[in-house]
Symmetry: C2
Subunit: 296 residues, 2 copies
């Protein structure tokens, strides 16, 4: 199997895990389960759970301890998209070529589905206390980390500044702040939680943070590039959305050429640091490289 085929296999495995962890025995409130499944199973690269799993394995992690956390992280990522798409936020009707959750289920149910996914992420992660009673300390550390990276010091913090600065001139520092939090924090969570659950110490966890931070930055700049160079068909969502939403991006600040160069510099740096661990397998290296040259 080449790397692309390996990736496709892994996506299938991850989606089976996600499905397994969705609520399955709801009663009158069944519609919220449908809305959660609709948004969670609507495709996507599954980058965050994939990175978490690869790092977990790279550090010798075995068994299924990582799985509830993979599901939890993807639920958090998905809820953020569901709420981001709401009329009062970016007001997007399509994502990955499919109608967004609030378009299908109504705005009220869109808000509740996002809330439900966020809450269920912690519910899912917390099942690990029962399932892995010998790993209480790791599980506790991983939940604390996940919560921090998803919250006001992480992803939500980035979204807040993003929303606040929309339509305004922003400087490079502010843009970096937004990217490191809005996009970077969950990628940091992925790689850090993978290391924590594999039993690595704080130094190694911080090493993952550093690499993840670069990956997140390169990933987001590539996103900015694709928004102006790709097509709606390839992306599965409207292009030129940043312009429409009056958002300054890495491309509007630095220009397309510089953006392309910097993606390469940052991702090469991440790759180097990853190789320095002496543990990264070829797939993980390929994955990181593919992300920054991706076409969608």
């Amino acid at each position: 199997m080449n790397f692309e085929e390996q990736r496709a296999e892994k996506v299938k495995e991850i989606e089976a895990i996600l499905k397994e962890y969705l609520p399955s025995d709801l009663q009158n409130q069944n519609v919220i389960g449908e809305a959660m499944e609709y948004s969670l199973m609507a495709g996507g690269k599954r980058l965050r759970p994939m990175l978490m799993q690869e790092v977990y394995k790279m550090y010798g992690g075995e068994g299924s301890l990582v799985e509830p956390f993979m599901a939890a992280l993807e639920m958090i990522h998905t809820y953020s998209l569901v709420h981001d798409d709401l009329p009062a936020m970016d007001n997007d009707d399509y994502r990955r070529g499919k109608k967004t959750t609030h378009v299908v289920y109504g705005e009220d149910m869109g808000i509740l589905a996002g809330d439900a996914l966020l809450n269920y992420a912690f519910e899912t992660a917390a099942t690990a206390f029962d399932t892995y009673p010998d790993d209480l300390e790791k599980v506790g550390k991983a939940i604390a980390l996940l919560a921090k990276k998803a919250g006001v010091y992480g992803m939500i913090g980035g979204q807040v500044v993003d929303v606040k600065e929309t339509g305004k001139e922003i400087d490079e520092d502010t843009l970096t702040f937004i990217y490191r939090l809005k996009t970077g924090a969950l990628i940091e969570a992925a790689m850090m939680v993978g290391a924590v659950l594999a039993g690595e110490d704080d130094d190694e966890v911080l090493r993952m943070k550093d690499i993840a931070s670069d990956i997140g930055m390169a990933f987001q700049i590539r996103d900015d590039i694709l928004d102006v160079t790709s097509t709606r068909e390839t992306l599965g969502k409207p292009i030129l959305s940043d312009e429409k939403n009056q958002k300054m991006t890495y491309v509007t600040i630095h220009g397309l050429e510089r953006a392309k160069e910097d993606v390469k510099v940052i991702s090469d740096r991440a790759m180097e640091k990853l190789k320095e661990t002496g543990k990264a397998n070829e797939f993980l290296c390929w994955l990181v490289e593919s992300l920054v040259y991706r076409e969608s």
Copy 2:
């Protein structure tokens, strides 16, 4: 001090705890901290953290272990109000006599502030892993319980059915389902988590669930009564909101007199069961009684 004065003292203590646990060192994203504080510190009975603390003490719980969970639960309750008040939900401009969060900070920030409070609730509860390393098992159990009661099997589940059935004829079973989940679940969480953190076994935790379930039901029926008998000034929010929102309530199904009788029957039952524990102090009994005769 009479009971009313004791309650006022306890509210002050709880509000000091809430303030202590709010994020205090935000940077560019500072506005989200303001919106969280605005909604969390806008008053209220602080019933859920108060019940949690009283149950914790009643079972001999000592020290501050319960405090991050008191804060977390009130954050969850508050986020649910912030999202409930949004234009796409109940569209309320006032709560407790103050403008609602989305009116003050904008609809986008209202959504994010709700998300932030929910996420921060788990972040806050998860600080206990670090602070109380000898209590990992209790902390894990309490987080799992909190998440479950707040989610699709608890509060959110109730909200979903409430939203879905608005404007429709519903039967008593559906109404009971909504009340047990939407209102009851967080009150169950309060009393159950209090018992868990005090080190009680499953039997005793379930005993608290049973009592809390009755308290929640009586509390919600009283809410329905006040919505038709009180004034805007006393309640701090518009009356007749159920009629405006086309919501059937215990009062519309059973009539005002029957509703008043049932509040008394259910709360007397809860009180009896509470006394049977042999541990309930006078303040806790008074608190439960006061809730169902409350005027706001």
